[in-house]
């Protein structure tokens, strides 16, 4: 019976129900650097093994989600004998404030590093309050 190693007892659901992935591949949280310039907020993430076709960036309400699919490496006539790291997909989400211009989000990927440039909205840039000395 091939269900032998699986748990035969029903599993209780978590409340609230956590969305699960359809693929059972491992998922990693990519390391990220975020810095702010006068006009933009730049997000840089390390995602080795992804390219422009396998990255998916979505902005829903104020949550920016980055996900990247990685195909595990395999070589013909070679077998893995030693492993220090594991490959898997990447996923991470960030909450973005309202000061970001939703229409002007740029993203590019190079050498497994994703760079997302979020431009600040015009009215935010202009809103500067001068403080008068009393």
């Amino acid at each position: 019976m091939d269900t032998e190693d699986k748990d035969l007892i029903k599993q209780q659901a978590q409340a609230p129900v956590e969305a699960e992935r359809t693929r059972t591949r491992k998922v990693y949280v990519p390391r990220a650097d975020i810095y702010e310039t006068k006009e933009t907020i730049v997000l840089i993430t390390d995602m080795a093994g992804v390219d422009e076709k396998s990255i998916d960036i979505t902005l829903e309400k104020n949550v920016l989600t980055i996900s990247g699919a990685v195909e595990p490496l395999s070589f013909k006539d070679y077998s893995m004998v030693y492993a220090e790291y594991d490959t898997g997909d990447y996923q991470r989400a960030f909450t973005i404030s309202n000061e970001v211009d939703r229409e002007k989000i740029e993203a590019k990927v190079k050498n497994g590093v994703l760079r997302v440039i979020l431009h600040k909205a015009e009215q935010v840039k202009a809103r500067k309050i001068a403080i008068k000395a009393a």
Binding site: T37, A48, S79
Partner: protein, 147 residues
């Protein structure tokens, strides 16, 4: 009746030593659980085949021109640098989780490599080095004669 009882006692002559051994074993087991992988950078995976080996490493965002791969005998050395992006005046980090700096790592393989035939590829932030075995060192197949 008396005899075997003494023998049984002898078998657990030092219960303290037995507890200590068990404790050592448990410590070994649990310290292993926290350190799943070695902390050397970059982490590598090694594949082996009849003709040699393939070493892969995840090195996102490095300049391939600044990565140095050297092969001597049976050891492979990777040295390189991952540079920090310099910030301009008025720019600031919100978070900085990625690591920067120089790295060097040497791996010893179980065979002599043919340095002239070593190939390296850097794609999508993953380094892949093909290390062929020296021709003279390859195992010879010995056929068995049936009489």
């Amino acid at each position: 009746m008396f005899g075997p009882g003494i023998w049984r006692l002898g078998r657990i002559a030092d219960p303290f030593a037995e507890v200590q051994r068990l404790q050592r074993e448990m410590n070994r087991l649990f310290s292993g659980a926290t350190e799943l992988y070695a902390h050397d950078f970059p982490a590598v995976n090694v594949w082996r085949g009849e003709n040699g080996a393939i070493v892969t490493a995840e090195l996102p965002g490095i300049d391939p021109a600044k990565l140095d791969i050297s092969v001597v005998g049976d050891s492979l050395t990777l040295t390189g640098i991952r540079e920090l992006e310099p910030l301009k005046e008025g720019e600031s980090y919100h978070r900085q989780e990625r690591t920067y700096g120089r790295f060097a790592r040497t791996l010893q393989l179980p065979f002599q490599m043919d340095a002239a035939k070593v190939e390296a590829k850097y794609e999508k932030g993953t380094l892949q080095i093909t290390l062929p075995r020296v021709e003279a060192e390859k195992p010879k197949k010995i056929s068995i004669k049936v009489e």
